[in-house]
Subunit: 279 residues, 4 copies
Amino acid sequence: MKPFILTLSCPDQPGIVAAVSTVLAAQNLNILESQQYSAPETGQYFMRIGFEGDTTQAAIEQHLADTAKKFDMRLHVGDATARPRVLILLSKFDHCLIDLIYRQQVGSLNMDIAAIASNHEVGRHWAEDAGLAYHTLGGRAAKQDNEAKLESLIESENIDLVILARYMQVLTPEFVTRHSGRIINIHHSFLPSFKGAEPYSQAHQRGVKIIGATAHFVTADLDEGPIITQGVEPVRHDMDVASFIDVGRDTERRTLARAVRLLTERRVFLNGNKTVVFE
Amino acid sequence: MKPFILTLSCPDQPGIVAAVSTVLAAQNLNILESQQYSAPETGQYFMRIGFEGDTTQAAIEQHLADTAKKFDMRLHVGDATARPRVLILLSKFDHCLIDLIYRQQVGSLNMDIAAIASNHEVGRHWAEDAGLAYHTLGGRAAKQDNEAKLESLIESENIDLVILARYMQVLTPEFVTRHSGRIINIHHSFLPSFKGAEPYSQAHQRGVKIIGATAHFVTADLDEGPIITQGVEPVRHDMDVASFIDVGRDTERRTLARAVRLLTERRVFLNGNKTVVFE
Amino acid sequence: MKPFILTLSCPDQPGIVAAVSTVLAAQNLNILESQQYSAPETGQYFMRIGFEGDTTQAAIEQHLADTAKKFDMRLHVGDATARPRVLILLSKFDHCLIDLIYRQQVGSLNMDIAAIASNHEVGRHWAEDAGLAYHTLGGRAAKQDNEAKLESLIESENIDLVILARYMQVLTPEFVTRHSGRIINIHHSFLPSFKGAEPYSQAHQRGVKIIGATAHFVTADLDEGPIITQGVEPVRHDMDVASFIDVGRDTERRTLARAVRLLTERRVFLNGNKTVVFE
Amino acid sequence: MKPFILTLSCPDQPGIVAAVSTVLAAQNLNILESQQYSAPETGQYFMRIGFEGDTTQAAIEQHLADTAKKFDMRLHVGDATARPRVLILLSKFDHCLIDLIYRQQVGSLNMDIAAIASNHEVGRHWAEDAGLAYHTLGGRAAKQDNEAKLESLIESENIDLVILARYMQVLTPEFVTRHSGRIINIHHSFLPSFKGAEPYSQAHQRGVKIIGATAHFVTADLDEGPIITQGVEPVRHDMDVASFIDVGRDTERRTLARAVRLLTERRVFLNGNKTVVFE
């Protein structure tokens, strides 16, 4: 008995669940958990099913092919234990990288960090220590070269997910569009408050009493991508910007890890400029 | 098009979802949302489906009768807009009562408070102000009479849910067992810490830094019933017991309201000594 | 032995604490708790002292007069059990009003609601039920008349604090400036996100995963006043704007009550465009 | 101008603040922040003052000597930038160790990890990688030898604080008493719930909806020491014990780090079987 995860989205209409679950039942596959949602704004239907059985991914997909076509489904069947292949990008701050590496190592996040790339050296030690490849990117002037390198990595390493773990360079709209739904970012503020480069300074100047972090899909529109999850932490009047940054480190790594877990477990769906998250 | 909620639990086996969803699809009913879970410890399968269609509750139940029998389902189909009929019990503290009344009035909780009963008069003013019946119960010596009154109310008022909103008397095992799954309590501690009568004093004496409240089903085993939801709030060294009680009032009413909402939306299932909660 | 609260702010320099505490000690007054903070950005020193003794407010102030003058202090001594006199303004939503009334009644907030004023009738019932005066304000066109009425109320009722408990009209800069530090507002978003009139709709449209509320001092610059405290609550993809509003009601009343408590306990100081809050 | 932290506790009586602050003012020392609290249960007064000036620790202590004697103060003056020397103990789980090492490295915790000791090898790699000594302890049978080693380390390394970062062996009452107020533990439950060895299993079996972690001083009475801080995280019905442990890892490291920060900043005072924490 092997565990699988099936995810799908399609235009809503009656009969979707019946069609899919009937195929599964005919193959003697047993549904362990499921969540479904019909989004009124977009008219899309979203489904995630965890099931088990004595079969293969290819066999299930074949059995579901007609149904998928009939309902115009965007459907994916995967081994529930499969480890998505991840590319992590970072710049000057390594706390998110270190946390992701550790969570992979202890089995808290079910993924393979296939490669790490950065325009700084701060993360190299941690990468090499964990036996992970660390690729060097150039500065802003080298954007074209950088993205060519990333494209090449994504292809050669079969990357499923690109994680901007405090990568402070802006990707081109072309790159972002090409990998839509496969690039996420951790922004160090409670979006939409404090977009841009120095959110902790902005938050400190405004005198907020809670700061946050936002994990979101990257789109061509900077800091406007669909939000996956957000985290917050209280701050006090006697904290300076450095203290905000320090508190924020925790919030960022926790929020990013939560987003990565949701994605590796295939719980996140794009729904227009928002997300559906089956927690 | 009317909205319905279907909930069921049954021994797990392949084909449950297919069987139910095929019946719904055959009636041209459209599933809007669903959650399902197979509990490994008890072998039970739990499902909640929100759907809409041009039909009646009776018609759906009839169409599902064979399926329900075949899979040994405990099945319920209800109008999604139906307002469960609620009986609220309280003793000396009225904050939970007032909050529940207000939430009903503004439409935040979709229920009908059919009756209120208490061994104190503190809540009468609020009840009468809202046009709700307020029944007087006796003290501990009158337990038999009290429960007879409650039984009579439950029957005459067609009560779906009994809420112990800081009702400080212990119900008999017979009463509790008879209404199993239909009586909930708000306990003023983060269970299993501080069972019994004076949890805030106990918490204060132990010097905890966070206090809580627990909404749970009532069983014959005091403070041991299946937990529905819990809430917490930080406390400080300079707070006395009265401050704990004051902070706790907020946590209690919020936690109880969350539990009541989950129940009125039919999101809570008993699973042995635990609950399955589809949030 | 009577309890007192002394609060002060002044330009920072060595000797402030010694000067004040020496005067208190000379009067045989016993300090029970104190918090102090020197703000680097503004160079201001802030102090709050709770003490007890067999004396009067006037006597203490007289003994401290020279010190206050020497250090250019803005100083206040008050009976710790004194109940600030409060004026509550609201428009269409009554949840904050009801909560404030209840908290006063059970002694959770140590204040006197001296008057309530509104351009709607929704709160009248609650006010009258609690024996509180409910004054009618006009619409936007009547702004001048409204503020004249409020001025008159503030004077005749000796109001210490004006609470905008979901009052949806903009006060004039003149009015706001005249009562600087004495007017607070509950804004129904996590500022600085979603300023303006319909924050829940904006938040829903943006697809945030956490919503919030902000209690702040009112200044001439709308939604830009110094923040006192903020509260947050998670939301999900399957919630519509009405659900956001419903969740928000809780966050608003809780956040506002926390701000009012901090103010009635004299724990909040204006520090430029920010606040110092001694919790 | 150098920053200092003064902490003291003594039997409460009028004049404490005046006495201390007058001495500081006479030395031209400027108070930057202060918190004070008189505990009604124990009659003890607690004070923490952050100040700056052109002086030395020894000079301040000398100037305060008479005052300390007169008021029977337990007084400590320290350089605010001083780094407490820490000994970390662990057994099979390394997440707290790794987190503490990282926080020291990035300057988030102002301490020197002077030594690490363990009855397992899991942390050696992390220790050596950070250039920290890793001492091997024996199993339970070697308790006497272990404590002798620890005593020797504490003396030779001038240890200020011993952190049980998931150290699963019970220390002898003699050892614990000798270092009272200098040993803290992170317990992997929300105490007093789920004392003992397997709290996550217990929590899972009880079906709680929130789990937690507790940082507390270690006393001879296991899991009963004064609580410093607590952290919580929600859990769901579909999580198994392994998921609780995984969620718990985060809560534990965050809660322990918060406790260590409070201690390194000298914000925690023992007050009978409780703590006073100036946050």
